[in-house]
């Protein structure tokens, strides 16, 4: 259907959140993303029901900083686990049990490892939530009816209106020219 700037998913009062365009296949979306990236947009996103291989490259995303968070958390956890055991057995309450030395480092390894893994996993999950700004139950995209299919079989590009290059009419036309199946304006 042709793009009509006056048609929005809700009432037509400004300011808009941005434009949402639907694409038919991952391949169409991929090529459209490359073009949007090359056009120089920065405040935009693509939406897919499943991770499409290579799309982050087509969008020009940088590598996630998450591994560093996880490494830091893992080392912190391991250190805490080890220090706790050392402190309890060699410092706070030394007690001979089954003839083991107070500072029985080989026996400290399993718990050190487990606590390290625990912290690293917590870092991975909550680090990811933080980077992704989750939970976020309210978002202008959710007002769009077609967007409900984003978790099913639909592929979208959304461009936010506060992108410096954003121009309601031209941006909509661009998306349409990239093969969008439908384009709509989202109110904020």
């Amino acid at each position: 259907m042709p793009f009509d700037p006056s048609r929005t998913s809700g009432s037509s009062r400004a300011p808009y959140y941005g434009i949402l365009a639907e694409f038919a296949t991952p391949a169409d979306l991929y090529h459209a993303c490359e073009r949007v990236r090359d056009a120089g947009f920065t405040r935009w996103d693509a939406h897919t029901p499943f991770p499409v291989h290579g799309l982050e490259g087509a969008m020009g995303l940088r590598r996630s900083p998450l591994p560093w968070i996880v490494l830091g958390m893992g080392l912190l956890g391991a250190a805490l686990g080890f220090v706790l055991q050392w402190w309890v057995h060699a410092s706070a309450y030394p007690l001979v049990i089954s003839g083991k030395p107070y500072f029985a480092w080989p026996a400290f390894v399993p718990i050190t490892f487990e606590v390290g893994i625990l912290f690293a996993a917590l870092g991975a999950v909550f680090g990811m939530f933080g980077l992704n700004r989750l939970p976020m139950h309210h978002h202008p995209l959710f007002r769009s009816k077609v967007f409900e299919r984003v978790t099913d079989d639909a592929f979208f590009i959304s461009i936010e209106s506060w992108d410096p290059l954003f121009d309601q009419s031209a941006t909509g036309k661009l998306l349409e020219s990239l093969g969008a199946r439908s384009v709509e304006i989202l109110e904020s």
């Binding site: 291989h53 996630s64 309450y93 089954s98 409900e148 978790t151």
Partner: protein, 487 residues
């Protein structure tokens, strides 16, 4: 259906086999998975759920009586101070391991066939860990001091003994449970969002929506999400090795012949994966039939699982042989006695049950006919789990029942409460699993969709498309065109 599906398994050496049959589109996968949750509760579900719940009730009764009366209600006593309680614990922890193997290790090895079964296998892991944790929790007898197992000082200002493998176990199993739950939940988020977006009622929208965290499938989100998933897989892999290794150390750090042997850590891990896969198989055979997922959980998946069971079963058999040989080679009379006693002593029946079920029976999986026959797979999956339960029983009880002095010899016989606790733990497991398949999408749709050819951004509809359509149109039982990869 089964016959033609088996034909598809004629693996071409080149190319890769099709994992998902009937070439569905993305929406069809959403439908078939979500429909299982959204439709009215089928009668068949109640037929599974009610007996499971009854068994869970039995667990409640058995545990209450145990708390009221004390550990004496079980059949264990000196010299067999650990019996079914720890057998059940090790059994259940082991069951869980296949879930992590499927979700993490096969992910790292890029085995795409895991996508159809990983969700339910991970759920199985969590429920198995719940069952497992029950037993150390209740076997202390005085449950009100169970907090002595936590890393906090007790009322005497004493800390737990971190140098004890029993405390390592507390850490290992609870970390394992936590990380498995996190991994599972992270995998669920996109599918919970799917359920939210499809919800017809406000309750559903709210219930799924809250846990979906407002997921909107954004590539910027997927980007961090996939990194997190990869990292969790990389963390879960050493974790799963460590968990059963540490469980094995409950025994192996002791000086008891039959328990103290250095191969225990890797051998326990292999056995855990072995039994876990058998349990996955049992559950998947039921689910695939009950929820008509034959085209998503295909014979090919079973074929792969059977191969893994063959590999791990053979590893377990190899470990048995190594132990036996080394006990002789050690020249230590106690070691030698323990192993001969296993094979010839009062528990020989248990030992040979174990050997038959664990080492001999999976050898049938050398044959593809067996790997792709649902009845054989189903029966063997149960046989193997019986065998693996007996393995733990043999290790624990036969090593204990002949102490160093003949005056301290005994024979363990279970009581009705031992049996109730074991059966009851199955009740807990199946109750949880029934609830899971009723309320959550049991197949990771977002992952299965990535396996479809059109998920590739470089995929072009072309001649291949025609081959696929041709297959779909082909009358059942007709000749199968060669899988695309072979051409």
């Amino acid at each position: 259906m089964a016959q033609t599906e088996a034909d598809l398994l004629d693996t071409p050496v080149a190319g890769r086999p099709t994992l998902i049959l009937r070439s569905p589109d993305f929406h069809a996968i959403t439908e078939v998975v979500a429909e299982a949750v959204e439709r009215r509760t089928p009668i068949g579900w109640w037929l599974f759920f009610i007996p499971s719940l009854a068994l869970l009730g039995l667990l409640g009764v058995a545990v209450s009586w145990l708390f009221w009366e004390g550990i004496g209600v079980w059949g264990l006593n000196v010299p067999v101070g650990w019996a079914w309680d720890i057998t059940n614990f090790v059994f259940w922890v082991g069951i869980g391991h296949a879930g992590t193997l499927i979700s993490a290790i096969l992910f790292l090895f890029r085995q795409k066939w895991r996508t159809s079964i990983n969700r339910s296998a991970e759920a199985m892991t969590i429920f198995a860990v719940m069952c497992a944790m029950t037993f150390p929790g209740i076997h202390v007898g005085r449950v009100w001091v169970a907090y002595w197992m936590f890393p906090i000082p007790n009322q005497m200002d004493m800390w737990p003994n971190f140098r004890s493998p029993l405390l390592w176990d507390v850490f290992a199993v609870s970390v394992y449970g936590t990380v498995s739950a996190l991994f599972w939940y992270v995998g669920l988020i996109p599918d919970l969002a799917m359920m939210r977006d499809r919800a017809k009622t406000r309750t559903r929208k709210l219930a799924y929506g809250i846990f979906a965290l407002g997921w909107r499938g954004s590539v910027r989100q997927w980007h961090h999400y996939e990194t997190a998933y990869l990292i969790l897989a990389a963390l879960a892999t050493p974790l799963v090795l460590s968990v059963h290794s540490i469980v094995s150390m409950d025994f192996a750090v002791s000086i008891l012949p039959g328990w103290h042997t250095t191969v225990f850590p890797p051998y326990f891990v292999a056995g855990a994966i072995f039994s876990g896969f058998a349990m996955v198989l049992t559950l998947m055979v039921i689910c695939r039939t009950a929820f008509r997922l034959e085209h998503i959980i295909t014979l090919r998946h079973f074929d792969y699982m059977a191969k893994i069971m063959l590999v791990t079963g053979t590893m377990v058999g190899f470990a048995y042989a190594t132990e036996f040989f080394t006990s002789w080679y050690s020249g230590n009379p106690y070691e030698i006695f323990t192993f001969l006693n296993r094979a010839r002593g009062p528990y020989a029946w248990a030992y040979w049950t174990m050997i038959t079920c664990n080492v001999i029976s999976p050898q049938i999986f050398w044959f593809k006919k067996a790997r792709t026959s649902i009845p054989i797979l189903f029966v063997l999956s149960i046989v193997i789990n019986i065998g693996m339960w007996f393995e733990r029983f043999v290790i624990i009880v036969t090593s204990l029942h002949r102490d160093f002095l003949p005056s301290s010899w005994g024979y363990f016989t279970p009581t009705i409460w031992d049996i109730s606790c074991l059966l009851g733990s199955f009740g807990l497991f199946f109750t949880m699993f029934c609830l899971f398949v009723r309320f959550l999408p049991m197949v990771a749709t977002a992952e299965v969709k990535t396996v479809l050819p059109q998920a590739d951004p470089h995929w072009q509809p072309g001649p291949e498309r025609e081959i696929r359509d041709h297959r779909a149109a082909r009358p059942a039982g007709g000749p199968e065109p060669a899988p695309e990869g072979a051409s």
